[in-house]
Symmetry: C2
Subunit: 212 residues, 2 copies
């Protein structure tokens, strides 16, 4: 049985940790539509580890297995590939309340084709695949959240695919402005260009035309 002293000792840690985890708890509850119990929150806090990444630091490098999935508490990152000409192509821009990983590599434990790199100083909560399976997936709110995410992701991927196939660079740029207007403030233009599948020069010219 726990003494009053022991409980007291835990409080400062608890308070400190809780504030870190609040965004994650809010996110899981919001997407799943379920409430997390105090016990369930403890499970999260025991198995997710806080990690800081400096700007330009890599979360994952091509060829490595994506051992962790991370929840972005603060900062941003890009997921990109490098083609045979040495050009980088950004597939995903991740900001607060997004997950950071390469699905394929993380679930199948195969070497990744992607690089994931911090664009700003970051704070993430990360966990391994094995620990997710053993401790986190059994939490109903988490499993429900996963289903919602994969549904949303599938829909978003389809939309993006549609614009990649059927729209001009300019149209894709306009769409990005509408969907993620803050991206323009937050990320350098060459990153936006790479995300749209355009050269930085082309995006610069598109913007110039759009303003006239």
């Amino acid at each position: 049985m726990r003494s009053k002293k022991a409980i007291f000792d835990l409080i400062p840690i608890g308070i400190y940790m809780m504030s870190d985890f609040t965004p994650l708890f809010d996110y899981v509850e919001k997407l799943s539509g379920k409430v997390l119990s105090a016990d369930e929150k403890q499970i999260f806090m025991r198995h997710f580890k806080s990690k800081k990444l400096k700007k330009r630091q890599y979360f994952l490098q091509e060829g490595d297995v994506c051992k962790y999935t991370g929840f972005v508490v603060k900062g941003s990152a890009r997921t990109f590939t490098v083609d045979e000409k040495g050009h980088e192509h950004i597939l995903k821009l991740s900001v607060e309340n997004w997950w950071l990983n390469d699905f394929e590599s993380f679930y199948q434990l195969t070497p990744s084709r992607f690089n994931i790199q911090a664009l700003e100083d970051m704070e993430i909560l990360q966990i391994t695949n094995a620990l997710v399976d053993e401790f986190i997936k059994p939490i109903p709110a988490f499993a429900a959240m996963q289903n919602v995410i994969s549904q949303n992701y599938t829909i978003a991927a389809q939309k993006r695919m549609q614009s990649a196939i059927s729209q001009s660079g300019e149209q894709r740029f306009q769409e990005l402005i509408n969907e993620y207007p803050h991206f323009l403030q937050r990320f350098p233009q060459n990153m936006i260009a790479s995300y749209l599948g355009l050269s930085p020069e082309t995006l610069s010219r598109i913007r110039k035309n759009a303003l006239k």
Copy 2:
């Protein structure tokens, strides 16, 4: 209590139906890694309805809600959009053992942005969202299958996005040949071109060059 006669009456129907449903059962069992009980199979057979589509017939038209999800037993279809210039862009080619729907419209019951049209005479097994939720999702093998599908789909969408953003028309075509070699035999070249985001003329020229 059921008489011997009544059971006997059911057998021919059962046998007839079973043969239709075999591909679906095999598919669910394979993807989920679980075995379906006789009772569970009966649930499938009670709620999925067989439907035939003639070549060129529409399964879904832009602006309509995608009321059904269909499992392709035989034939093929394309999912496409029409842009403001009247050009069609194929997002998905569906053949045997694939599902036929617009996720977004089907789950959210919103008007679809896509058309789905048979490219060959088709035979599908279809069901509404409400019936899936009530009768089919509770079957563990089906729920497990859904998770596997959404994982696979997410990975495939990411791969396709990567090639759309970072590869030339020719490279995308080569990749298609490697991944789905039978598509070239089965579908007209202009459909393949549309799927790759190319004009039919460009694909024709790419093929000519590749042969030299």
